[in-house]
């Protein structure tokens, strides 16, 4: 049982470390058109070309 818990903790730690290692860009929000609540958990900023 203890081994199972230990393995689970190692996996959890590895997943946290992997998440922390993701490259993130700081993109200013500006006053561009927005859809969705300002306090949403996810902010998606899309650069688009209609053609």
């Amino acid at each position: 049982m203890k081994i199972t818990i230990r393995i689970a903790l190692i996996f959890l730690l590895l997943s946290v470390l992997a998440f922390a290692d993701i490259t993130r860009f700081d993109v200013p929000l500006g006053d561009s058109p927005q859809l969705g609540p300002p306090n949403a958990l996810i902010t998606m900023i899309e650069f688009l070309d209609f053609q």
Partner: protein
């Protein structure tokens, strides 16, 4: 994205490719429609009708949305939103973007058209992390 309603905020920035005939005027059109409260409606039409984005087509889409046509046409022809578009382009270039669409999901860069499942996986990871 309906399944994520209330959990996602979507922000759009214009990045018209300079060598495409109608990219810039389409960006002008969506912002001009936005001035009249119809940004997202025009956005949806342009995605659906692309690449038919010449001036006359854009004007016909504005008419479909029952915009003030005199105002819309004037905005289009005077490139009223040039400064906003230039600002977005400058930001895109500063971020070294070379493809559209490019999406940042909580700062994670996703380049080009990707399958829904690919985007969904990132969103789910971000939600899982945020909700911990």
């Amino acid at each position: 994205m309906e399944e994520y309603k209330g959990k996602i905020r979507l922000i759009l920035r214009q990045y018209p490719y300079k060598y495409r005939d109608y990219s810039h005027i389409a960006a002008e059109a969506v912002l001009a429609a936005g001035d009249q409260g119809k940004y997202w409606e025009m956005h949806d039409i342009l995605l659906k009708k692309s690449p038919k984005l010449d001036r006359e087509s854009l004007i016909s889409y504005a008419a479909e949305l029952e915009l003030d046509m005199k105002r819309f046409t004037n905005d289009l022809d005077t490139m009223k939103h040039l400064d906003i578009i230039k600002r977005d382009i400058a930001l895109a270039e500063a971020l070294d973007l070379y493809n559209t669409p490019t999406i940042f999901i909580n700062g994670r860069k996703v380049i080009g058209n990707r399958p829904y499942e690919y985007i969904k996986k990132i969103i789910d990871e971000e939600l899982q992390h945020a909700e911990k």
